[in-house]
Amino acid sequence: MKVRIKLISPLGSPPPGFDKFGIAAVDIDCEATLADTLARFDLTVQEPYMTLVNSETIVASERDRHVMGDGDEVTIFPPIQGG
């Protein structure tokens, strides 16, 4: 399955696997979870982050139970506030 990942406003340069704008497209196994998908990347330098799959928030405790679907779009974003 193919999924697209958007890393919003990363600290420093985006980690390997992302382009300079923080976009990545990856192939994942069927029945892979969101946690499996995120594990493909080194996100350790990032702050605690929040995740959307399409428009649905997947809280941290649910990431290893949320099964991905083909064509899903993952948005990874920090706890930013508006201004």
Partner: protein, 609 residues
Amino acid sequence: MGWQQKVLRVDLTAGTAKQEPLNMDWAAKYLGQRGLATRYLMEEMDPTADPLSPENKLIFASGPLTGTMSPTGGRWSVVTKGALTGAIACSNSGGHFGGEMKLAGWDMIIFEGRAKSPVYLLIQDDKTELFDARKFIWGKTVWETEDLVKSRHQDPLIRVASIGQAGENLVRFACVINDRDRAAGRSGVGAVMGSKQLKAVALRGTKGVQPDNPKAFIKAVVAAQRKVAIAANSERLSKTGTMAMMDVTNSYGSLPTHNSRDVQFRNGDKVNYRAMVTPRRSDGQANLVTNKACFACTIGCGRISRIDPQHFSIQGKEQYKSALGGLEYESGFALAPLVGVDDIEAATFANAVCNEYGMDPISFGGSLAAAMELFEEGAISEKDTGGLKLNFGSADALVEAVEITGTGMGFGREIGLGSRLLCEKYKHPEFSMSVKGQEFPGYDGRAMQGMGLAYATSNRGACHLRASPFTDDFTYVRTEGKAKIVKDSQDKNAAVDSTGICAFAHGALDLADFAKQIDAACQGEWTAERLVKTGERIWNLERQFNLAAGFTVADDTLPQRILKDAAKTGAGKGRVSELSVMLPEYYELRGWDKKGVPKEVTLKRLDLA
């Protein structure tokens, strides 16, 4: 003392300016800026007065940390009864004007009455003088005004806060602009200034601010500076400004689009941060040039852009061809998705015109979006608009509309009424996406239930800065717990807005960090707990002003679209705002009765009885 303990009172009717001591009892209870100026306003004016009458007062106010080395300590506020809302208005600005006011030795400037003819005020430390603005800067743009005043008084370091033609023409969402592109933006404070025939305030200060305990102050400030310097939020704001939010709200489904008929914008990738930094095909340059910081700020969230020189909006208009203030999230959302426009250069141009003529881009965008809906629904036609085709998505319409609104030409005068009066005039009040007459910022209250409650209860009308339910709202589409999050953050933000420090430092500093700096700068035992109580006191004082002005529980609401029309997509798909569930809990937490009136016990607890 962090305070200079001096107020300048300017009677525009009499043409006089007098010094008076700051009320230090009030300073101890309301700090400065938003809180202290509201205390003065409540004491000195009838809240039922017409906001555009001489009976309204206009207060420029600094905080105890404004003008100090405290990180981001350059904030100042304009407090008055808002021309857009008729409610208490406090618009907070950055730049260098606030710091300069403090360095000139003034905590506050209170303007009262109305000048017989247009004037501007020049302050050079203790020396103050009103000058005739006729045949000089009246009728000029904000940018021209700033240049002319500096030139006439032969001092390039003078700081200027002024209104453009929008304020002179009483556009209901006119703002006060300082340092070319920093705005006391919301609620129509610029229209109040225009109604007083006060064109500009020019300042030059050469004094310092003397903290009460310099050694403790420097220790507290250095610790705070270090926190701000290493905070992830600071790095992000420096790099992307606030525009990173566009992708978040668009992905989540809380991006007000097409006058809030939609919550996601199909062409969001054309008007987001990535679009700002991607080199253009036309000239190989990116829209974003660099960032910009305000007084004492080490973050630098401000955006400096250059519009594509080949873009249709700036042909023959030299003033837009150099670097100028760029899009931030709020202006970006309002001048692009909200009106359906996917042309980032047109949105940047519209933002520049808002700065040049002195208009709030959020309310301009909201009013134009309402006009577009009126047009597309047939409530108005080209006959009404003077031939302007106000279709969603039209960059041509955006570019022309912003110019005629700023200059008060043709249908621009109608847009300048603000969405509420505009939609009432054309018999479709339901098209106005506003609370208490003030247009929505860039968050939809269906996916973001907490923000919906924050809009409904904001004392100055719909506002994204009065409360901070972002993290919970981006995690849970639910009503549970929102009332407490909104209430608590409203109190904290009211305190921060009264210190002289920027809300963006709040991302790195907790209230204890604020308290240590204030405690060292000012006499008195300042703690985080005292700041929270001060914020709650300010919130209730603002509420008292609004109740006295005639607002009721019926005004703590949202447009029917948000309450009855379910979101079509996104996290809130199928949901409406459940305000009726959250509001009673909010009143209870506030210690207000069912009509939203603070109970006697609440007022006594806050020393407001």
